[in-house]
Symmetry: C2
Subunit: 375 residues, 2 copies
């Protein structure tokens, strides 16, 4: 059967063959989109309105959606067997149990997304399939998605570059004294003009506001000498971007210049370490040690992450407990974070594609070697 | 202790006193924001990064957040007892179990959000608190939030009106031949300029695209005689708007004129029924019967819903199985949906505040009596 265009079908099929699962049931937006090709937008907003793909080891998949989404599913998904339920009147879990029974899988090993399925649905499933072996398939699906396909690489790359451009153009249009909100609005307008479907997150703070991990821009004016730190994400179709950039207002103090240089050198040196065979924890530890050598401290629990359908932090996460080896065609956002409580936060986030040869930096629209000065 | 400004504290305290819960634990963005006052934005995007409020029947609440969010939580929440965990190294569920043990509640009745907590965390909680009675508190919290406070009514109202204006102004700036995407971009830019923080959803389709429940705008041009149907939602702080409007391009056919008039009359007649004492199912059934009398069919499983923190469909939902009686200070979005497969979809969504006297229509920026014509 035809599979959706972004899916790594070869990897899915070979990992499924190696696994214990007789069937895998996807329920999160990211995995339902990945395996069905249909972006059921309401999965983002109405979590109780389940959409499910049923992916048996042998035989064809089934797609279960609320009847409101039927036309959408039929238009976008190559899956032919689409079943619909009426919200508030029929149970999607009952329909899932019926489909598994029909396929002779109700007493088999069923992989489900235990990191997505809510307790209510999980308890209902346990009750309706007392003889099934329900096992977590979250890591299995994550492992499939971890190696990107060429169309995925293209959409993730373009989203990142468009977002970088939106930020850079907004910096250029901003003057000292403008409000945090003005700068944020310019980025939002730019990114939508550059093809984004909507804003996913806009963290933006100046001066001490930059120290808050997820500051929402306010009417505070951008004052001479202050740091501005922003972390911006927008949806492009089912995927999303995630770019952090910094600027300083009018003048750069020697302290900021010095810390920025040390910070940015470490970010680039960490990127240079991202090669096939390097473990995620090694990249994290290298970065932490580089901070220590530079007389700075790394306080964050991770320094980067992959991305994929619906944005978000995907594996491999660059954190100290992750033994995962890096492989070609992984994509990584690299974003160490440093706080100087007296000045503000330092945060630059770039997108890297891993190739056989090593890391390829994709977000090169703006040159981050020197901190950007808003004049 | 001081509670957050939007919270219906009286109602929370009296319903908790009547309930079986010794403690309620909130975990979803909507309930954590509602009870803590801190908008932990990453709850929208990183669901495994738990934030939890622990709300005992007696004694002070506790707020558990990832250490990345600590500063944010301390700045925004009146809760004094804030505990932090390190992501990937410490378990937030273990911290929750410890807090409950410390408060002497680990063998008591603990209300949790079974419609939010994922199976993985739920299983961990069951294992860490073998003697607790874990019960679902979703409806309890929903019941608290159902009656809006004056500050909530104000923010929800202003969000709706700003969104209505953004749509109306975008209609006025649009010409026949423009693309679906052009119209969408105008609405997005307008709503951000009018104070929205980000776009939550933009469903917009012309002609047959309008029939798809959640169509993403494309490069298809808006052609003479076609219907345009859009359903737009934007975040304003922690709350969100949700407005559907329609237009027709250049000329209105007699069919569209006639069906629109019948559709819109039914929508208004349904709104007129929304009085304290009416049950949600009665409103739905009235609407369904009115469609039948008008020779039309209502196919959707609900005709409206309340709203609240994070937008989304909140109780009371106007569907045929909901016995909930309407009460003053509920707010309802009313949106019956009618499809003519040969023409397109009819969909107007308005916001109503229930008062002692009856329904107060809040979205009156644009007059929907006649269908808007884009010329």
């Amino acid at each position: 059967m035809p599979w959706p265009k972004y899916m790594n079908v070869t990897r899915f099929e070979s990992l499924l063959a190696e696994s214990n699962f007789d069937v895998v049931v996807a329920s999160s937006l990211k995995n339902v989109y990945y395996t069905s090709g249909a972006l059921i937008e309401t999965q983002r907003r109405i979590p109780l309105r389940l959409a499910l793909t049923v992916l048996p080891r042998e035989g064809d998949p089934t797609f279960i959606v609320c009847n409101i989404e039927e036309r959408h599913a039929r238009d976008e998904s190559p899956i032919e067997d689409i079943r619909t339920y009426v919200e508030f009147q029929e149970s999607p879990i009952e329909m899932l149990a019926d489909v598994l029974r029909e396929k002779g899988l109700d007493q088999k090993t069923v992989g489900i997304e235990k990191e997505h399925l809510i307790a209510t649905y999980y308890e209902e499933l346990l009750q309706r399939l007392p003889k099934a072996k329900l096992e977590t398939a979250d890591s299995f699906l994550e492992k499939v998605r971890m190696i990107k396909t060429p169309p995925e690489i293209e959409v993730i790359k373009q989203a990142a570059i468009a977002t970088e451009q939106a930020i850079f153009d907004a910096f250029a249009a901003t003057k000292p004294g403008d409000q945090e909100k003005d700068l944020a609005l310019r980025i939002k307008n730019n990114v939508v003009s550059l093809g984004a479907d909507s804003i996913r997150a806009c963290v933006l703070g100046s001066g001490s506001n930059s120290l808050r991990a997820h500051h929402t821009p306010t009417e505070k004016p951008l004052l001479k000498g202050e740091l501005v730190r922003l972390d911006f994400s927008a949806y492009f179709g089912a995927y999303a971007s995630d770019i952090a950039r910094m600027a300083v207002i009018e003048t750069v103090s020697p302290t900021i210049q010095d810390v920025y240089k040390r910070y940015r050198d470490i970010q680039r040196a960490t990127i240079a370490r991202l090669k096939p065979g390097t473990r995620a924890c090694d990249a994290y530890n290298f970065c932490r040690e580089a901070f220590e050598k530079a007389g700075m401290a790394l306080h964050t629990p991770h320094i980067g992450h992959s991305t994929g359908v619906n944005g978000g932090h995907e594996e491999p996460m660059l954190h100290p407990n992750n033994q995962q080896e890096l492989e070609p065609n992984m994509m990584l956002y690299v974003e160490p974070f440093f706080r100087d409580p007296n000045v503000g936060a330092y945060h630059v986030e770039d997108l890297v594609l891993l190739t056989e040869e090593g890391p390829e930096l994709l977000t090169t629209y703006s040159d981050t070697q020197e901190i950007y000065v808003i004049k």
